[in-house]
């Protein structure tokens, strides 16, 4: 079974196997690309760096929030309070500087702490008082919505220009000034681009080296090169879009860091493994010695903190906090996670999938806006997409079983 040499299987077979094992992620990815191709055919504007950069900005907060809700749903719970948490933390982040003159950094830290406290509160009820998460977070939604009105006093609070950069701003250039119209790429973005590729290569080569050390089979060189090239191509497409517009937005940087961290958390840590086990079978997890209560508490704390981060990004993008901020956002977030392959029954789901799911939803929204499709139709289409995505998932699961 184990050989020192490269995997002797036919490369085609390896690809087939990998396709079959990750069919969900690939389908979602292909769906996203197809949607993008359709919109680019229907609208000249869609594929411009300007529009795509806007699209990224529109997606950032939803994708960040989706990372947190993936953990929640994978563990077999739900979080209906996300929108209210976004609204409340956004309002706090706006009001602390505006009303109390607290500096940018301290007010962000306080906001994150509030997010953590909210998570602690909800996690306590779910984990230690055994109230279903559906109820706890529904109650939470009402409580936090009430608090928003209390905090904002019903008024809209504008946020400062420096704060707004978190949601709207781009990294400054280091050496060369560049504008969207010239063909000079944004230098800072290019440097980050290069660093990301270098980090990716380092990870892959290190992994390969380790596997050789353990005497495990490795991908044949040809396939390895193909895989690296494809991933680098993908990274490059995303970065070139940003580099030839205004550069990398701060919010996308935040998303990349959080996405990376949560991918690590879910795939490489004991905590992540336990979350999947709890969602897969609570009883088996308990009998395997997993501390379900503490894990659950931390899942909600994570969701609360990400709620606060989402709240900050969202408020900064809008440029103000209002009593209606974040209303209904939980549904977009949950939809993103589920479209991205997170099982509503728990136990399955990936961070990458959720981010792609968030992109699918905002691409649909963005594209239809460009085509002047009305709100009525946009909501209907997005609803149907969610429905069909879950149906496709169920059908493909039956086939696999």
């Amino acid at each position: 079974m184990i050989s020192k040499t490269e995997n002797k299987q036919n490369p085609i077979d390896i690809i087939k196997l990998s396709l079959r094992n990750n069919i969900r992620q690939y389908t979602m990815f292909i769906a996203l690309i197809s949607i993008m191709i359709i919109f680019s055919l229907l609208s000249d504007v869609f594929l411009t760096p300007r529009n795509l950069s806007t699209l990224f900005l529109q997606t950032a907060h939803i994708a960040v929030l989706a990372c947190g809700v993936v953990l929640v749903i994978v563990a077999g719970h739900i979080d209906l309070s996300i929108g209210a948490v976004v609204g409340l933390t956004g309002a706090i982040a706006a009001i602390l500087p505006a009303r109390y003159g607290i500096g940018l950094v301290p007010s962000i830290l306080i906001t994150l702490a509030v997010g953590a406290l909210i998570g602690l509160w909800q996690g306590y009820w779910v984990a230690y008082r055994a109230v279903p998460a559906f109820i706890v977070t529904l109650a939470g939604k009402l409580i936090f919505e009430g608090m928003i009105i209390g905090v904002t006093k019903g008024a809209t609070t504008a946020t400062s220009a420096s704060f707004n950069k978190i949601g709207q701003g781009y990294f400054p250039t280091l050496f060369f000034e560049s504008t969207p119209r010239d063909m000079i790429p944004h230098d800072t973005t290019v440097i980050i681009w290069a660093l990301v590729i270098a980090a990716y290569l380092w990870l892959e080569f290190n992994r390969r080296k380790e596997r050789i050390k353990y005497d495990f089979e490795i991908l044949p060189k040809s396939l390895f090169v193909v895989k690296l090239s494809l991933v680098i191509l993908l990274i490059s497409v995303v970065f070139s879009i940003m580099a030839f517009y205004l550069g990398m937005p701060y919010s996308i940087m935040i998303l990349m860091v959080i996405g990376g961290f949560y991918t690590f958390l879910t795939t490489q840590t004991t905590f992540g493994r336990h979350v999947y086990a709890i969602g897969g079978s609570k009883e088996a997890a308990k009998l395997s010695g997993i501390n379900i209560k503490s894990r659950t508490l931390w899942i909600f704390i994570s969701s609360g903190i990400l709620g606060a981060i989402g709240g900050i990004i969202f408020t900064a993008r809008v440029g103000s906090a209002a009593a209606s901020g974040g209303m209904g956002m939980e549904l977009d977030v949950i939809a993103a996670a589920i479209i991205g392959g997170t099982s509503t029954l728990g136990g399955e789901g990936t961070i990458v999938g959720a981010i792609i799911g968030a992109l699918v939803m905002s691409t649909l929204n963005n594209g239809m806006l460009l085509l002047d499709v009305g709100t009525t139709q946009r909501l209907i289409v997005r609803g149907l997409v969610l429905l069909i995505a879950v149906w496709v998932d169920i059908v493909s699961r039956k086939k696999n079983a």
């Binding site: 495990f216 004991t270 010695g289 501390n291």
Partner: protein, 510 residues
Amino acid sequence: MSEYILEMQNIVKEFPGVKALDNVNFKVKKGEIHALVGENGAGKSTLMKVLSGVYPYGTYEGKILINGKEQRYANTNDSEAAGVGIIYQELTLVKQMNICENIFLGSEHNKLGIIDWNKAMSETQRLLNEVGLTSTPDTKIINLGIGRQQMVEIAKALSKNVNILILDEPTAALNEDDSENLLNIIKKLKEEGISCIYISHKLKEVKSIADTITIIRDGKTIETFSNDEEVNQNRIITGMVGREITQLFPRKPHTPGDVVLEVKNWTVYNPEVPDKKAIDNISFQARKGEILGIAGLMGSGRTELMMSIFGAYGINKSGEIYIEDQKTDVKEPRDAIERGLCYLSEDRKKTGLVLMMDVKENITLSSLKTISTIVGINENEEIKATNYYVDALKIKTPSIEQKTRNLSGGNQQKVVIAKWLMAAPKILILDEPTRGIDVGAKYEIYSIMNDLVEQGVSIIMISSELPEVLGMSDRILVMHEGRFTAELDWQGTSQEDVMHYATGGNLTTS
């Protein structure tokens, strides 16, 4: 009319890449009990799914004749109409509904959609009398023991006027009493002219009840013979596995060492009935390098005793647990695991495995600490550890990334065993370790147990199968109603002895 009520001729059923049934011929006479035996995966269940219309006409080759007439079912309703009833291993009753509602579920006596409850109730009462069940028709299923639920299933099948009743491992979850009861009912049904197809791994039952035995192996009919005096268990087993098994249990001499687990005055209350003692003042010891068998009927508290020691059951617990002479306070399973006490649960699918996780993730689930560093789980160490256990326990899986739900029962059980071995237990409690597993895999699990004992692990084995208890244990503790009624040495103890104490017997102090 022919003497056969059912003839299945040259049945071939293919799945992508596998020929599950290869030219199977199977004939059942009127009013006989026909046992269908074979190892797991031999094709028994597939054959029954063909017969009951789960696989409709056209998805298989061959002919099904009932009373000489060819049948072409499009679905299970057609087979029911033809008088074929099937009772699956996993019961299919709606727990929140009562007996009457369950029996007529989907075929309610109604006029324009309004149910005639009086008729349904009296009809239910008649059926319950027939199967000898004393519960009233309005009893909720949730309040019935598993044995009684099985009776309700049979009553439900009878309500559909079956001529052929298929029972798939009906006694797998039943205790000896309920099994006995069930077998009697099957005999009674036979007298009324109903033919039974009886699938079971319990060869003793097969031997005692069947008129005819058909053995299938690898999707082929091996032989059909009538169950006369010359037939014995070894004869059947030989047919099933196609090789001679001279010794069912690989008994090896063990040399028990120091006491590793001591339980003193252990009392536990039932969380569902808080004033009822599930375990009543039990004390015992388990030694290094021995297999301690726990026998008893279902409901005697065997599982509750071990689960409560493991920290996964019970309220108002009192008493003391000593692991290697150290008093241990077990609040949660993880406390027990940390002290080297592991428990393999009786239901591997629900509580043993995370079915949607793969082989590797299940095996390492309780020992992630040992393969993690500060930067998370070391993937390669995980693969290495998994490969080690897959080899050592001969787990048959196409890859360690295979989801455990796709493995056979025996291999699933080995994965759970591997999980606990990796946690390096000093005391390993095995609750029904070979339930629903084929003969070959059973033997392998027994061998693993012997190896562990040799390495100094203390094994406590709960088993409903008396031959297994007697064949593997060094000492046997017999439970009845939350207490120990006897401590027996395996030598010189007969199944009847164990049964005697399990049903109450004399309270002997040992």
